[in-house]
Amino acid sequence: MSTFTPSRPPDSLTKNVTPIDAGAHVVGAAFLGETGALALADGMIILRDEAGGQRAAPAHPDGAILVFANDSERLITGGDDGRVVATDAGGESHELGDEKGKWIDAAAVSSDGAIAWSAGKSVKARDAKGRVREWKPPSSVRGLAFAPKGYRLAIAHNNGASLWFPNTDAAPEALEWKGSHIDATWAPGGRFVVTSMQENQLHGWTLPDKQHMRMSGYPAKTRSLSWSHDGLWLATSGADAVIVWPFQGEKGPMGKPPRECGVRPAKVAQVAFHPKALVIAAGYDDGCILLCRMTDGSELLVRAPDSDGGAISALAWDRSGRHLLFGARGGAAGWLSLPV
């Protein structure tokens, strides 16, 4: 526990960061309850508690972790060994899927314990009871997102996205938009599905009326998307600032300009909204991390630029919003505990 009680907010939080040597490209970060988890490209998962107790779980001993998803209890990882593995805070791993060596391209977790993954032209959903259903998409899939409520999966692919009820035999509902769609996210309120695209833009659809939302102007691909706790804002990477789209009304951000924060001469690579406040953690491709408060644009430094360590590749808040876990491509990582 930190005992540091500043009389005014500090400009820098770098002293509140405990460095972690992850030793490999950090693919993902998550909190399983109060345990921080880092998924690594060497197939390992590092589990760490606030006191610094650390252990490693060899989730993919013969491969690299390519994708991850998590709820508050399990970290789901997909590897280039073709396996889908669930690991808990105690470091216990269970194999939930095996695609016989085919790379796992995407993973998602639903609020009710279901998971989904894709490998080539196959999407599989596994409900909490372990029943697996498969859908063959028109192209390979890199983005999966469950609806906030109900057993329904958004699947990003070429020329649009599909909304699939894995428990029914009905054909998935098509959301069409020409081009290659990469990542997918579903708004917490359920009304919007948004994808990132190969062409440096986002595309969204309102539900159920399927109105299009085009969000463009990025200099690079958006690969990190994060909803605010109230579901009214979507923070995105891909520019020299965090681009935050307003989703207050029925029409989402249409006709409204996005907000920008954390403007720096480096590209934002990862974004993570604080779970309780309108504060965004932004990780840049030069290794810098800032906290940006949307209400007044104020910024706090979490990590100074570190060009040798590579881009920030993972960011995650714990549920209380007091701890931020991060990792970089070069294998550096860290744990920020906010002063109380």
Binding site: V27, L66, S139, S140, N158, S180, Q198, K221
Partner: protein, 320 residues
């Protein structure tokens, strides 16, 4: 910036000897580690630790450029491979015999994330001495693969007579006079002849003897596919050249398979080097012109139905 990983693209019609060449590269005692991206995983034994299954998913970029197709699976695979950085020194992409090389090559120009971490080293095309003649008649892919090549492995030379070999070589030269050509049996070439060619550095195109080009064209003529090389013995004006080449590739892009050039821009101490695939152009100022090196400007186009006269007039008008 860390060094970019070189990528070698291996093309060639079915049965020409691609996989033999691949296995030869992999088993030679070079101490290098390769990541190999192949189609049809496991069909033929590939002797390598890191073999990745590709789907050859070609999609059109939604950017108003009709022939701008890329390989989506390659973008995804390279992103995944880069997580294993340090585990391999180079990437080899083997395409299927029927594949058009354009989307593969364009992937390395169009996708910024791919471009940040890799460089296209060379397109290597393996052709069958005996059957190429027939394939050129009935398979447009075979012609594309030759047009795209930086290195051509003319394989199975033991199955043809010397006269036949001369003839097939002339046919290749009529389409692509610029590629390095190696005559082989059982794809036996030295790895140095196909890997780390830096073929896309393009220095080589200045070395080509105009006389040789002329000769090639006298003896053989491919009605459909041609190459046009034009030289200005001095500087060009970038304010004239850039709009011209952009407009040209926008208009003629579907017909222009490859374009390359090394240019002396007026008042610029560095050489401007560019290359293109269809409508996509990628150019940059590279090293200084060396003292004693003649400042000259040369461009090459390989494509279908090229209007030699118009190209010559257009380029010549860019002279400074």
């Amino acid at each position: 910036m860390p060094e970019k990983i070189p990528v070698t693209v291996l093309t060639g019609y079915l049965g020409a000897g691609k996989t033999t060449l691949l296995n030869r590269i992999l088993t030679e005692p070079h101490g290098k580690k390769f990541a190999v991206i192949v189609n049809e995983f496991g069909e033929i034994g590939i002797d390598n630790d890191l073999v990745v299954d590709a789907d050859e998913e070609v999609f059109e970029m939604n950017n108003g450029c009709i022939c701008c197709t890329v390989r989506g699976d390659l973008i995804r695979i390279i992103e995944g491979l880069m997580k294993r950085k340090g585990k391999f020194d180079a990437i080899i992409v083997e395409t299927t015999g029927l594949a058009d090389p354009a989307p593969v090559a364009q992937t390395f120009f169009v996708d910024q994330d791919v471009q940040d971490v890799t460089r296209l080293d060379a397109v290597v095309t393996v052709v069958d001495s005996k059957w190429l003649k027939d394939r050129l008649k009935d398979a447009p892919e075979a012609k594309n693969q030759i047009a795209f090549a930086d290195v051509i492995i003319l394989n199975k030379t033991d199955l043809v007579t010397e006269a036949e070999l001369k003839d097939v070589e002339a046919q290749i030269r009529a389409i692509n006079p610029y590629a390095r050509l190696h005559k082989t049996q059982r794809s036996a070439v030295s790895i140095a002849d196909v890997m780390d060619r830096n073929a896309f550095d393009l220095d080589r195109i200045l070395d080509i003897e105009p006389a040789f080009l002329e000769e090639g064209h006298h003896h053989h003529h491919d009605e459909e596919m041609q190459s046009v090389a034009i030289q200005i013995p001095g500087d060009v004006d970038p304010d004239k050249f850039m709009p011209w080449v952009q407009e040209l590739t926008q208009r003629e892009g579907p017909n222009i398979l490859r374009s390359k050039g090394i240019l002396a821009f007026k008042g610029e101490p560095k050489r401007f080097v560019f290359q293109g695939v269809h409508m996509i152009l990628d150019g940059d100022l590279q090293r200084d012109w060396k003292s004693g090196e003649k400042r000259e400007s040369k461009i090459v186009f390989i494509g279908r139905k090229l209007d030699r006269k118009a190209l010559e007039q257009g380029f010549m008008a860019c002279a400074a």
